[in-house]
Symmetry: C2
């Protein structure tokens, strides 16, 4: 061991908002990176498709990066992997299903050839440079999720990833509490633990409780069942399959991501579907409603999803009505509430019965407070950093650790880019590295920034007015009346009088300054913007972007 050796732990995301999870572990000349997820754009990130973490620090130290380790296959943990690999070529370690889901992303980005992928199993231990990483089975809303025990020369870090404690899970074993206890007994320096549900008291119900709900709903039901859930929730899909078998229903599947996941998960053995159960959507017409279950995407009200199109009568082949029961087997991701309500309203108008009570037909994939207490008590770490969640969740998780008797000086609040150093003497903060969000819009990565967003916001609110004028700077006069073209400002056909007035105002403003001897085009442009803005505000109380386009006369 190096003298005065230190483990540097740097979260580059996932610690102030849901999504974009990525954490760097650095010891000497070795770096391993845990997860590399996306987050979804905030409301004010107009036109942005995705947000990925700023990995400048890793790019500068790319020669040290030994591995990218993935805890599970959700977008907020693996979505940015293709962008990462385009900058830093390293080996990827993950469980079978996680690699199976990653496959599609790598193909899409043309990266299947270059990326080296190493499949790991829960229980396995891998040496990577100065690190030894053990993969530990946990429960979550996606199969094959793991926690990590990262051993280093200065001690062990227990990194939970996303988890819940489920004693009766579907399609897998309960979380490996035995191994976690054993590791805890041997001594863990630092716990980094999922905080998503740190505000919620009690326990997250078992996935198995859903089976009882489905049983109650399917029993004696004459209607067709249409269930929307997250395509990644393979356990839930298995339960829908199970209920359908029990009640003699054939199962059709719609929605691109749902079809992809079911295909991948059954190929890899994570979902068990008897031959002949699945039928094509087109075959549904051969069956009665009470012989059918339809699994679909759209549980978040996504406007392009299959369920949205069915609700608005825009689906090419499936129409819903009074012989349908729609189950939203998911809870709303914050920000999607209104979209979901819109779908429920439309379905209800069509006479469709809707069950959207997330207490009955959905359970969370994250640990609530009592489960977090179990994790803390088993791991018995010397230090604690809450991760994964909004800042308010991290703060509640920190209080929980205090309630459990941890010394507040041993609890550290993370920030993206903050550098934690773990040495034999303990954990401390030592400065920070570059970190932040990078916006992806189309093929462009990072070319949309604050200036572009400010302009988009301005354009979105009041539109744009383009003033085209030809100016004879020699004779200090306008060659003709300026022409105004607008978009997103007013409905021009019904606002001709206003547009005429604005053209006259523009002419007056320009003539005034030309008469004063101003011939510099930039000065004229700025004067026109300021004074025409004032005219528009006084007339209609709006503030469109004003863009003067001046040409000098060709002499």
């Amino acid at each position: 061991m190096i003298k005065n050796a230190k483990l540097r732990i740097i979260p580059l995301g996932g610690v102030d908002g849901i999504g974009m999870n990525i954490t760097v572990f650095e010891y000497g000349d070795d770096i391993i990176v845990v997860d590399c997820g996306v987050s979804f754009p905030e409301n004010d990130m107009l036109g942005v498709d995705l947000v990925i973490p700023d990995t400048s620090y890793l790019q500068k130290n790319s020669d040290k990066v030994r591995a990218l380790i993935l805890t599970h296959g959700h977008e907020d943990h693996i979505g940015a992997v293709p962008y990462f690999l385009k900058q830093i070529n390293t080996s990827i370690y993950a469980t079978k299903l996680t690699l199976g889901i990653l496959e599609g992303k790598l193909t899409e980005h043309g990266l299947t050839k270059t990326a080296s992928q190493i499949e790991v199993k829960p229980g396995q231990k891998i040496d990577i440079g100065a690190f030894s990483v053990e993969f530990i089975h946990v429960n979550h809303s996606m199969p094959d999720s793991v926690a990590l025990c990262i051993s280093t020369p200065v001690g062990k870090v227990f990194y939970t990833g996303d988890f819940k404690i489920d004693f009766t899970p579907i399609g897998c074993k309960p979380i490996d509490l035995g191994r976690i206890a054993e590791l805890g007994n041997k001594g863990i320096k630092l716990l980094m633990c999922d905080s998503t549900n740190a505000e919620r008291p009690g326990y997250t119900p078992s996935e198995k409780t859903i089976a009882a709900s489905f049983d109650r709903i399917f029993y004696n039901l004459e209607k067709r069942v249409v269930i929307a859930t997250f395509s990644s929730n393979v356990h839930r899909i298995q339960q829908i399959i199970n209920a359908s078998i029990k009640y003699n229903r054939r199962v059709a599947i719609t929605g691109r991501s749902m079809l992809n996941v079911v295909k991948a998960a059954s190929k890899l053995g994570y979902i068990d579907i008897p031959d002949g159960l699945i039928i094509d959507v087109a075959e549904m017409k051969r069956y009665n409603p009470n012989q059918l279950t339809l699994i679909t995407t759209g549980s978040q009200g996504e406007p392009m999803s299959a369920l949205y199109r069915m609700a608005f009568g825009e689906h090419p082949t499936i129409s819903l009505g009074s012989s349908d029961l729609v189950i939203l087997s998911a809870s709303a991701i914050p920000g999607n509430e209104k979209l979901i309500t819109k779908i429920v309203n439309e379905l209800t108008k069509r006479g469709v019965e809707v069950i959207d009570d997330s207490n009955e037909v959905h359970v969370s994939g994250h640990a609530c407070r009592e489960e977090l207490k179990i994790m803390h008590s088993l791991v018995k770490a010397e230090y604690f950093i809450p991760i994964h969640g909004e800042y308010k969740h991290l703060a509640k998780h920190a209080s929980l650790a205090k309630e459990l008797g941890m010394d507040p000086s041993r609890i550290f609040m993370p920030e993206a880019g903050k550098v934690f150093e773990l040495s034999k003497r303990g954990l401390r903060v030592n400065g920070s590295v570059e970190a932040g969000q990078i916006m992806v819009d189309g093929y462009g990565v990072g070319d949309v920034g604050s200036v572009v967003l400010r302009d988009r916001k301005h354009l979105a609110e009041d539109g744009i007015i383009i003033v085209v004028a030809t100016i004879d700077t020699e004779n200090k006069e306008l060659v003709s009346t300026p022409e105004i073209v607008s978009r997103g400002f007013v409905y021009v056909k019904e606002s001709e009088a206003l547009m005429d007035e604005l053209e006259k105002s523009a002419a007056n403003i320009l003539t005034k300054y030309l008469n004063k001897g101003v011939t510099d085009l930039n000065t004229l442009k700025n004067k026109l913007k300021d004074e025409l803005s004032a005219v528009i505000r006084s007339k209609i109380k709006r503030d469109p972007m004003i863009l003067p386009i001046f040409t000098k006369t060709i002499l």
Copy 2:
């Protein structure tokens, strides 16, 4: 009574989404209008300030309109009154506080002189044309709220307005169940009833339960209390005042609407504040934290509110820290969840303790299912139309009426503009009238429509590219390379190569068609738009608006 007389009941809003409540009652040559509210713009209504109901039907029949009756002073019931009065001049009937709140709006729109306002008291009965309207005291999150019993020659309609049943309200009496029962016993033809909480089981807790929560929170507290609530929730403000008196705290108030409401409500006697209790914000520095309560706006995370500015350290005079406790005494209006989370995160980062559990420090102003059952059972109407709510709420309320034993053929689902006719023979639907939403942007009412919104959305997502070119149509050639100006597309300073390429592409496209003999400017514009779009999509997968501006050479 006219032979074959009919009462026409036409909801023009408030029956498919929260807000914009307005209902027309028409008998012979007499029309009365109940409420006239706004709704807030949907996410896709970019730049829109307010949405008001389309009152074309009333404008066409303005000679019949005898009165506008207001049930209470919330925005979704009175916000569109000024716009209504600009089209139709009629008398306004409302209780004292409702008129007090309306006053500000009328002043703002310069309408105080023209509008005739008649103050009514709960228990009072007013004859208006063929109608006789009785005002009945109800509980709600605003004082002076009333239900209406509208008597007509064909029978009585009971219109609840917004209500809850509170046996221990603050600052007023419990809802007048006695009078409602009496009216029910005498015979009500039609019940129109608030559906906002029709999905929620049980009872809405009493406003008084908040007192116990405040007591628990204030007791022995060393911190300053900062409470955000709706400014219109006068009962809640009274409770904050009461708790502050009990625990020897002075009260400061911030936020424009909060200051206005407290002033109006105490002038009219709806709030009881001892002399010397209220201090100016600037005086707070003279007191210890445990001697202070600050009441503020911003419970919905509004970006211009006092609380938002305090959370982000942008408030000119108040800064919050570890000696502050912030209470969000409100629940999130759907769509505001993310904004509220943002505020809570920022406050938490500043070390502020935050209580945002709406189960503890807030109660709803609307009746839950058990309360709705009481209303139905007392009114015992022959027919029922659920009102006020999303369509899904109305549908749940209809099921509740069925559960109570009402014949489904006597339950009618409303739609904006649908005409219901009540005659001696019963209730039926008879066609519909013009109805819908009108968008208000600045001073413009209705000049923003689908074309403008489509353009704003396009601009918001990918910005705009303006291609300026001078074309010599005589000699069929470009006078110079086209110039491209963009806004909201890419950060131009870092995308010079792309912009150069696009200019070259534009030149090539135009030259190609000029060489083919195309000189019509519109044809050239369309060709340029199509082909340049394709180039941009292939290069960066974005779809900006393209606006060609061509000038011919001046010969």
